[in-house]
Amino acid sequence: MIDFFKKEVNEYPDFWLEYENSFNEKPTDDLSLVRFVVLDTETTGFDYLNDRILCIGALSLVDRNIAINNSLELFLKQEHYNADTAKIHGILKNGGASCISEIEALEKFLGYLKNAVIVAHHAIFDVTMINRALERNGLPKLRNKVLDTSHLYKKTLLTSNVFKKKEHYSLDELAEKFDISKKDRHTAMGDAFITAIAFLKIKSRLKSKGQLRLKDLLKMG
């Protein structure tokens, strides 16, 4: 049984093993040490099965700092192509020389992501899209912890009968509330950046009861 398991593991490419190994590090609960990767994907549509990732934008956040030269913007080559989404996202099929294949993108992405905590707006969508891409390439699902700014934002709002919270808050609404410029909205990197700033502002509003820990954040969303 153990042998069988080992054999399976060995079939995975090196970059996946490296990614898995990063989880051997003992996780920290101190928020100033945790590495967050804030990401957004642009896709050809909203169908998990048929739609594909066009672009991944990701930046890392450590101790409330975002180093611009340590960010990731990947454009993926497309076989199927939906003109409608392309219009919104302004990414043309094989538009730039920097378009790479899905597996190449996954390799680069996992190498960047490592064991960071993923932060995204409506994270379930982005994470599922990435997981589907991994699946298509014969790889297991992401192992990272995930935070959703949409859920976290709701925790910053008053709980009062007088005021009804909405079921969902869009990234636009967050940008307006937190006075974040909506420049580059609907590009993966632009949205990732807005999400990152919103996340920082949400985090500062959440620390009401003593020191906020990663555990608390994960419980909330």
Binding site: I68, N69, S71, N161, K183
Partner: protein
Amino acid sequence: MKNTISHRVADFLKNFPPFNVLDQKDLETLSEEITIIYKEKDNIIFLENDEPHPYFYVVNKGAVALKKGTDKSIMDMCDEGDIFGLRPLMAHENYKMTAKAHEESILYAIPINIFKPYAQKNTAVGNFLIESFASNTRNPYSKSHRGKLYDEVLEINPIAPNTQVLDLQSVQYSKKLVTCSATTSAKTIAKIMTEKNVGAMLVVKDKLPIGIITDKDLRNNIVTGKYPITTKASAIMVSPVITYNKNLTITQAQMAMMKSNISHLCITKDGTPNSKAIGILSKHDVMVALGNNPAVLIKAIKRSKKIKSIKQIRKSITHLLQDYLDQNIPIKLTTKIISELNDACVKQIIKISLEEMPSKPPVKFAWLALGSQGRSEQLLQTDQDNALVFENVPEDKLIKTTGYFLELTKLINKGLFDIGYDYCPAEMMASNPDWCLSLDEWKKTISHWIINPGTDEVLLSSIFFDYNIAYGDVNLVNELSEHIFETTKKYPIFYLHLASGALQNPSPTGFFRQLLVEEDGEHKDSFDVKRRALMPLTDAARVLILSHSVKSINSTAERFEKLAELEPNNEEIFMACSYATRALLKFRTKQGLLHNDSGRYIAIDKLTKEEKIKLKRTFKTIKEIQELVSIRFKVSNLLR
């Protein structure tokens, strides 16, 4: 690595010196190496005597205070686009000041090793640096120093924005010249002056100033009938013009105006009348530079064409407030003046927002300030609470009309946010569709609250019923008030609920008369002066004044005064309440200014003995008024 964010950063930086002189390519390369840093309010960026970081900083959003010495007096306030922490890097010395986020801020950290080559390569950048390091007369709040390099060694003592050192400041003159030619008619001149809201017009020939016409000249020459309204500028202008160069100090400007008995100076390129006119300096500008005078501030607010300039004025208002409190000016007067100024800010923001709308409002409307702003008790900036009411429209037009006003209120709420009023966490703002209604819709909502007074309805009414018209049609508001009085008379049970709501605030003291502090949460161990002391008074005043059907008195202290007048037998207790309200308000404001927050939570252990006694003295009054309310409205223990 070039990406979307570095573009975004470059896009911001290119508006500010010295980055504005870098070429696009260099700026983008530089931007790629920047780190974006988020700081919560009161977070430290660096401490005095710290070793320099490998970065210097540019404020992207928010404000950073530079402080020095043991008393931590604010030396400088850096706003959007300002650079700080650069000089120590250039001079290889430790930080001379502490930098602390004055508000929630986003900073760009620029690595010095990347930036330095540009400074050496590009003479314009180098000159900018030398120039700003060399200047050591500085006014922390003047625009003339915006964008300069702040972290420099100061030989002079810390300067409050109001002190004499300012006299050496070069003056901020108006660069938007309003000019005419020698042949322009007096009528046209007067028209333009009215339009541009200026007190003087410069007469130019080939861009050289040849004369000046002020309000006074028009009055003396035209209105008196001495000259006809068609007279040409050349006949009535004062000539030659008194000219100076732009490095004129405030003191020099004052002297020049007094010496020649004039109200306007012309600023020319080389200071003589033989060079191009570049600006005009009025007595008003001098007064603004000299600082805090409510009349000047009001005028400045009314002249503001941009939200951004109102934000600057807001800062002066806060300083004025600080001065008033320091000088122990009666809180009654202070409250009035500051409320007037806040009110003027709100009005101006509404005006600016209206101009931004694609069309005029389809019907009449009124902007209502709610809560503490409605009661004119807002000395410090807190959250926004506001609503909008518009004239009734036929049913088929309602959706479109509501749509218009929602668009308008969104602009106004954003404007208020920009000058420092945070969004209301419970969305009690006019841009919320529930708080932007037609008169009939409001009447329906209010009737619902009064007829079904559950906890929520009472809470909503207690926030809403303190409304005060800030802008718009007063008749709409009067009609709303009438409706409230009529409905409450029909359903007197509402008073009972409002009164019991007024008694539900937690008690300020415990069994042993010790101050009760918050037991957990962010404000553990501090005293909630708003909920435990001010709100019981405010709530009591509201229900009592409503039961007397008195409208348009909103301030709690004034309500108690009115009540004392209406019920002479209770005069003593009502006057005590009025006094207590003012005392608590002053207390809260002082605390708020001290800590740069809303002043709501007070750290008890930081209070002096005298302050504690003062605070406790008001509690006796609170207890007495709560008893009066309880008996008058027959609030049974069951309801409480």
